[in-house]
């Protein structure tokens, strides 16, 4: 907590109609008298060079270190109002006031009250925040840990090394290469997409071995991971019982995948015949054959006909099957069919597909190439494979619309990828009393990959089907464990080309994480935030809510059960702050007081004034922008609303609600992002937490004998530009119905 005396300067803008709609000099007085601003100035065009200059002068002169901007929204003119070495608070007089109110005489008074309150609130915030400074806890460690020596891991290592960073590469097996080393050839990912191409795995392995920045740990695994971005301590144990400890700044988990076991689909009779092989087993046969004819395992006879059965146990809800689709099986089948065709054009190769998944430019060209080699593609669903000297595949031909069968020397089963992830920490709900990673709901290896010494389990959380969590649209590298990134098929099924792309991206994120950890800057989404959770140990009751509810497992517990905050794991969402029943957690620029005081500083008209007050706590990421855009489009809402943006609804501490009710607010609305499987909360669990907590508010209301309708929580999307104002107005109507709060003093 930096100590310096705060010098508040409030700068009001009279532009954009603010001056016409509001009595600015009155707001100046408000800022001085109620807001306790030492300096109060008004400019007719505050975001202009001149206006900004006016502010900067005062800062440079040392007259002001806490700036209150009374102008447009927090989201507007951000670049103009960015001052280093000063705390910034904003009173949203434009989008938050005049734009959502009619320009009429009747409306004038309530609009003015709104404006004055916004000034009071911004000043209150300013009084209760501090200029954040790095804790000094952070370290810059330019080494990455890469777990997994397959193509993904090796690519991560090489790309990071190329960027000038050191890498500790840990591989379970005695040699590098992973599955890639077992392949005969690869699917082409460069024009022309016509023939299988060499894996060049040896070259890659050689490059890894040769690179000065890369340290190899073979036959090794991660026995323990402690610390946080910038200061991870990794214990690497080898099969031979030796172990070393390395310190790294960030981690990339490239633990890859396992092949689905075809025996989960008995009708394929994989176990009943040596000539019924999986696609991965065929790679071995092809490798053994070199560029000569591929031989049957059973009798060593040259294969003259082969059938590829696609989607074995994939995209199926049947028990023991994979509910998802690996997506690359058809490309692999074409590649493997070409193993035969390029070697013996006369070899009959049939691919029984359902939906031929050969997407993109590469995919479609490769499909054509397969056809060009006279690979027969039949849209057919195989029901059973009969073992024998000549194998028979029974299937339904979807085009000829008939049940039929075909014989072949060899049958290749397209089996999918199963992610090789560690146990999901959240397979069972976490409870406050300590419990290590529970049994995952999906059948993946139970061995931990990372052995994190974290309060919330040993490994990266899963999203679905055993794949590690990721906001898999806008921010694919989000993992809920800061500074630890998953790459390759452990994250989602993918081919080698995509995995290498993914590896390079993950390396970028890991490098970014360690660089920012070194500067004490927060990672996405509050990129660059220098604040961090501060904690008053004396007050702590060791309830452990914070350690359990942090979506990013940033908080551990010491032996006495007190929370241990790890600054560089923290995303600054404030969910711990919202969780804390005794309010001992805060941030320099965001705290129970910095919001609580805004709530309290709203001027509360007495009961008979017929002027209710509605507190709106809106997520700054979605709900608040929605209200902004409503204003932009001239959509009005109740003048009695007082909107406060919060970092995440999860950061809302129930004390704000009770305080608000006690101080006479008539209604409270919480607006957060949608929760559940398709959550849109940028802190993953925030809005869900808020819902849980608010469900308990009902009791409080009862104690205060207040109607439940006075406090409501909504999921509001950024596109709810019409809806968000409607929700506020609905509350205003409710209050008209049920009457004003009795708690006005």
């Amino acid at each position: 907590m930096p100590d310096y005396d705060k010098k508040l300067g409030a700068y009001l803008c009279s532009g954009c109609g603010i001056g016409d709609r509001l009595n600015v000099s009155q707001m100046e007085t408000t800022a001085k008298r109620d807001g306790k601003a030492a300096i109060v100035k008004t400019h007719e065009f505050l975001c202009s060079k001149a206006g900004v200059e006016m502010i900067r002068k005062d800062i440079d002169a040392g007259d002001v270190n806490h700036v209150i901007i009374g102008a447009c929204s927090h989201r507007s003119k951000v670049e103009a109002f960015r001052f280093d070495r000063a705390a910034i608070s904003r009173a949203n007089l434009r989008e938050g006031c005049i734009w959502i109110r009619p320009y009429t005489d009747e409306a004038q008074q309530t609009t003015q009250e709104m404006g004055d309150d916004l000034i009071r609130m911004a000043c209150a915030e300013s009084r209760y925040i501090n200029i954040p400074e790095p804790s000094g806890e952070q370290e810059l460690n330019k080494t990455l840990l890469v777990v997994g020596g397959g193509m993904t891991g090796m690519t991560t290592a090489l790309e990071s090394a190329k960027a000038g960073y050191r890498v500790e590469l840990v591989e379970k097996a005695a040699a590098l290469g992973g599955w890639m080393a077992q392949l005969h050839k690869c699917i082409p990912h460069r024009m022309p997409y016509a023939n299988p191409v060499a894996t060049n795995i040896d070259a890659t392995i050689a490059a890894v071995n040769a690179h000065a920045n890369i340290t190899l740990h073979l036959s090794a695994s991660v026995a323990k991971t402690e610390g946080a971005p910038g200061r991870f301590k990794i214990e690497i144990a080898t099969e031979y019982g030796t172990s070393t400890t390395v310190e790294v700044g960030a981690i990339v988990q490239a633990s890859g995948y396992n092949m689905f076991d075809p025996n989960n689909v008995p009708a394929m009779n994989h176990a009943k015949s040596a000539d019924i092989v999986t696609n991965m087993e065929l790679e071995a046969l092809a490798k053994a054959a070199g560029d000569g004819p591929i031989k049957r395992p059973s009798d060593g006879r040259e294969v003259s006909s082969v059938i590829f059965v696609q989607n074995v146990g994939q995209a199926s809800e049947a028990k023991g099957h994979l509910p998802y689709h690996s997506g690359i099986g058809d490309l692999i089948a074409i590649k493997q069919a070409l193993y035969f065709k390029t070697q013996n054009r006369g070899c009959e190769t049939t691919i029984l597909f359902n939906h031929l998944r050969t997407p993109g430019a590469a995919g479609e060209d490769f499909y054509c190439s397969g056809q060009n080699y006279e690979v027969t593609f039949r849209k057919g669903i195989a029901s059973e494979v009969f073992p024998g000297s000549s194998l028979e595949v029974q299937f339904r031909d979807m085009i000829l619309d008939e049940d039929t069968s075909q014989t072949a020397d060899l049958v290749v089963l397209d089996v999918g990828m199963v992610p090789n992830s560690g146990p999901d920490p959240y397979a069972l709900p976490l409870v406050a009393d300590k419990e290590k990673g529970a049994a995952p709901v999906f059948e993946v290896t139970l061995d931990s990959i990372l052995n994190l010494e974290y309060r919330q389990g040993t490994d990266l959380p899963h999203l679905k089907h055993g794949f590690t969590d990721s906001h898999f649209i806008c921010f694919p590298y989000e993992t809920r464990r800061s500074g630890i990134y998953a790459a390759g098929p452990v994250r989602r099924p993918m081919d080698i080309h995509q995995a290498m792309e993914d590896a390079t991206g993950a390396a970028m994120k890991a490098i970014q994480a360690l660089e920012n950890a070194g500067k004490g800057r927060s990672a996405h989404p509050r990129s660059g935030d220098l604040s961090y959770p501060l904690f008053r140990k004396e007050g702590c009751t060791r309830c452990k809510r914070c350690t359990v509810e942090c979506p990013f497992a940033a908080i551990d517990e010491d032996e006495k059960g007190y929370p241990q905050f790890n600054e560089s794991r923290c995303r600054r969402c404030g969910i711990c702050m919202g969780a804390c029943p005794v309010r001992v957690i805060s941030f320099d620029n965001y705290s129970v007081d910095s919001i609580g005081q805004q709530i309290k500083n709203v001027d509360m008209p007495d009961e008979f004034d017929e002027k209710p007050r509605i507190l709106v706590l809106a997520c700054e990421n979605d709900a608040y922008p929605a209200l902004d855009m409503a204003a932009q489009n001239g959509i009005e809402y109740s003048p009695f609303a007082r909107v406060i943006p919060v970092r995440c609804l999860g950061s809302v501490n129930t004390v704000w609600i009770t305080d608000a009710l006690n101080s006479g607010y008539d209604g409270i609305i919480l607006m957060g992002c949608s929760k559940g499987d398709d959550y849109q909360c940028h802190f993953v669990k925030g809005s869900e937490m808020a819902y849980q907590r608010m469900s308990q508010i009902a009791d409080t209301l009862q104690i205060l004998s207040l109607d439940a309708e006075r406090v409501v929580t909504y999921e509001v999307a950024i596109t709810d530009i019409h809806r968000a104002p409607r929700l506020i107005n609905a509350m205003a109507e409710t209050i008209e119905k049920i009457g004003m709060s009795p708690f006005k003093f």
């Binding site: 790309e159 998802y324 031929l356 479609e364 679905k464 649209i473 390079t504 991206g505 990421n621």
Partner: protein, 430 residues
């Protein structure tokens, strides 16, 4: 006069769609200096024109809000809009880029108060809505436009409208004498993220997009769903503005076709599955007339997207026909009638629908013939990763037909490749 501070440690990012923005923020948040160049007057590219993302059915503007905030939070990024890279010279670690900046006729003073828009009368096709409606000659491209500054359409320059707009502005933000300018600056590495454009549906003659009002493209359909879009969020037939309830989706419209784009555009299957959910969203589950029919060759629902495919398959309102539609005619009420054959068992159909949505193909916006520098571009128009490209790296749909997730993946990877170059430069300079 726009100026850019750049050295050969600078990373130039061309195109500010989801890929360009991602590449820029990832590089900048790692402490690099970035120049982000965008042709449009605003950032966000195609995703800013999408209603929802598959498979979460969440809103692109949600992620865009975060990314735009990340851009503003970074000191190290300079953004040029209405700007195009016209020439690039030099080599890896030492490029010099020439950028042409078209006049916006509105300067930084703009507070987006909207006064100019109110007074201007001239209207033009709204590009953001693919011309489905009009916008003023002085306009804010859309709600979340960044920079949040108005644009004066060059076509009103010299008219009274222009003068009216100027007069209406209290902040001297409108500068009608603004000229096109060309600037040149250095860069160590270049990320090419110019994205894609919808294939020209007029060329798909059998489907009569050029002749039948009620045949639209998938990108237009996205705009219809936007509450601030051309139809205020309603699915309306262009011919008579009646609610369209029986909707056909035609897959591979311009993709997987030697007569058009040879490649598979990858996203269309999922995009259509997503759009099929709009029908229930709009009309509810109980409206028996509301239904969708998907005409497809293969549904390429890769990996986890399979869950989503299954979800749609279980929706009684949606049916699937395995068929490339042969052609479309329209009846007297301008209802499109689709002719073709269901290839699963060979059943001929002649199906009438209210509206046809063409799942339009994805064409790379890489100018194959006049790329500013010698670089490897494949026959489909995508930039290939190649040593010969030196310090120029493709991101997103300039490299392949990709969905948002994979575009972001490649963009993040491209960012590292660029960082490698500038770090090498820094290293060599000691």
């Amino acid at each position: 006069m726009t100026e850019v501070v750049a050295t050969n440690h600078t990373i130039l990012v061309v195109g500010a769609g989801i890929s360009g923005i991602t590449a820029a923020v990832e590089a900048a948040e790692t402490g690099n200096n970035v120049v982000l160049v965008e042709k449009r007057p605003y950032l966000g590219g195609r995703v800013s024109q999408l209603y929802k993302y598959f498979p979460k059915l969440c809103f692109p503007s949600c992620g865009l809000e975060i990314n735009q905030r990340r851009l503003s939070a970074q000191g190290g990024i300079s953004i040029l809009t209405m700007a195009e890279v016209t020439a690039v010279s030099g080599s890896e670690g030492n490029y010099s880029a020439t950028v042409k900046i078209s006049p916006r006729f509105v300067n930084e003073n703009c507070t987006a108060c909207g006064a100019c828009g109110d007074v201007v009368e001239a209207e033009f096709d709204n590009e953001h809505n693919y011309g489905l409606n009009k916008r003023k000659g002085a306009y804010l491209p859309y709600n979340m436009a960044k920079p949040q500054r108005y644009v004066i359409d060059p076509r009103i320059i010299g008219t009274d409208d222009a003068e009216k707009a100027k007069a209406a502005c209290k902040y001297a933000a409108i500068d009608l004498d603004m000229q096109e300018q060309t600037i040149e600056f250095k860069a160590g590495a270049i990320i090419w993220a110019t994205g894609w454009q919808p294939y020209d549906a007029n060329k798909i003659q059998p489907y009569g997009y050029d002749r039948y009002a009620n045949v639209i493209t998938s990108v237009e359909f996205e705009r219809m769903m936007d509450k601030f879009g051309p139809t205020g969020g309603k699915i309306l037939r262009p011919s008579d503005n009646a609610e369209a309830k029986d909707i056909a989706f035609i897959q591979c419209a311009g993709s997987r076709d030697r007569n058009h784009l040879k490649h598979c555009s990858r996203i269309c299957c999922m995009a259509t599955l997503k759009q099929s959910t709009y029908i229930t969203e709009q009309y509810g589950v109980d409206d028996a007339d509301a239904k969708g029919t998907i005409y497809y060759i293969d549904i390429r629902s890769i990996d986890r997207f399979e869950d989503f495919y299954r979800k749609v398959q279980n929706d009684p309102k949606i049916s699937f026909i395995r068929s490339k539609v042969a052609n479309i005619v329209q009846d007297k009420d301008q209802n499109p009638i689709l002719n073709g054959v269901d290839t699963e068992g060979y059943h001929r159909y002649e199906n009438r629908h209210d509206l046809v949505v063409l799942a339009i193909g994805m064409e790379p916006s890489v100018n194959k013939d006049s790329f500013p520098l010698e670089i490897v571009i494949n026959e489909h128009g995508f930039i290939e990763a190649d040593e010969a490209n030196g310090g120029i790296f493709a991101a997103g749909c300039a490299s392949d037909a990709l969905d948002v997730n994979r575009a972001v993946q490649t963009a993040t990877a491209a960012a590292l490749r660029a960082v490698q170059v500038v770090n090498r430069v820094a290293g060599s300079e000691g």
